[in-house]
Amino acid sequence: MSFFLILMPFFMVHSKTYQKVSVDKLNASSSLNQANSGEFFPHNILNENSNPWIEGKSSDGIGEYVDMHFTTSFRFNRISIINGFNDKIKFKKYN
């Protein structure tokens, strides 16, 4: 019993191990380029606490896209997406 209790934290940690994959290429059909600052390029979507990717067309953005190429394949059955600005000040600035 004590042996099991010692090993239990080990199994608990390993049951939550994340799968790790790498992005080979990250392309967008267009990106908003404010004063050549590179602030809104597609790599932002992999980066915590950064600006978003914003399409760079003068139109409403329909048809614009982001492509993610991974070095290896993986499987998923849920996606969580945060769209928009996470920053109210920047949202007002660029909106």
Binding site: K16, T17, Y18, Q19, K20, V21, S22, V23, D24, K25, L26, A28, A35, N36, S37, G38, F41, P42, H43, N44, I45, L46, N47, E48, S50, N51, P52, W53, I54, E55, D60, G61, I62, G63, E64, Y65, V66, D67, M68, H69, F70, T71, T72, S73, F74, R75, F76, N77, R78, I79, S80, I81, I82, N83, G84, F85, N86, F91, Y94, N95
Partner: protein, 188 residues
Amino acid sequence: MEIKTKDYTRTVVLEDSSKAQSFNFEKKIKVEKIRFSIVSVYKGSSFNSTCLSKVVFFLNENKVSIGLIPKYKLCSIEKRMDHTFYTSDSFGNFSEISIDNYGEVKTKEWNKGFTSRKGTYIIDMQTLKKRSVIKIGPPEEARILRDLWSAKIVFSYDDKTSYEDYLFEDYLELKLNNSSNNTFEFTK
């Protein structure tokens, strides 16, 4: 927004807001390449519906951790009339490098990281994510001899905050021909 892989396509409706929204799939989707496309926008929409802050994949309750590959590639270089080079890299960063024919090494927003005025120049990619103008001129002896000279610029990037231990390196070589007509050549 349309989510498309090689053999699966689904359109999801994102609220016109800035909060995490999850979408479950009835089966496990195998992916090596995925495209997120804007297929419609809210009428009178705010900016939210056409920008993407974060994408996270899950397999059951396990998050798929996504990192960038530990290498940095220069993708394009564009030379402009004012001796300015625009470069872009595999992560969509870009920088602006302007070449001056006087031996001054200056940046507008950043002035450190150069190991010497001739030979190899080290430029911090963290800084190049912002707009940087870097002026590099020939060394004194080149100006006297009015001959070809070259400088190697090494781009290195080690963003421990965002990409943990990844290190990105690449270089380009600038060959400046200042012998007669004040023109500049670029080779990679």
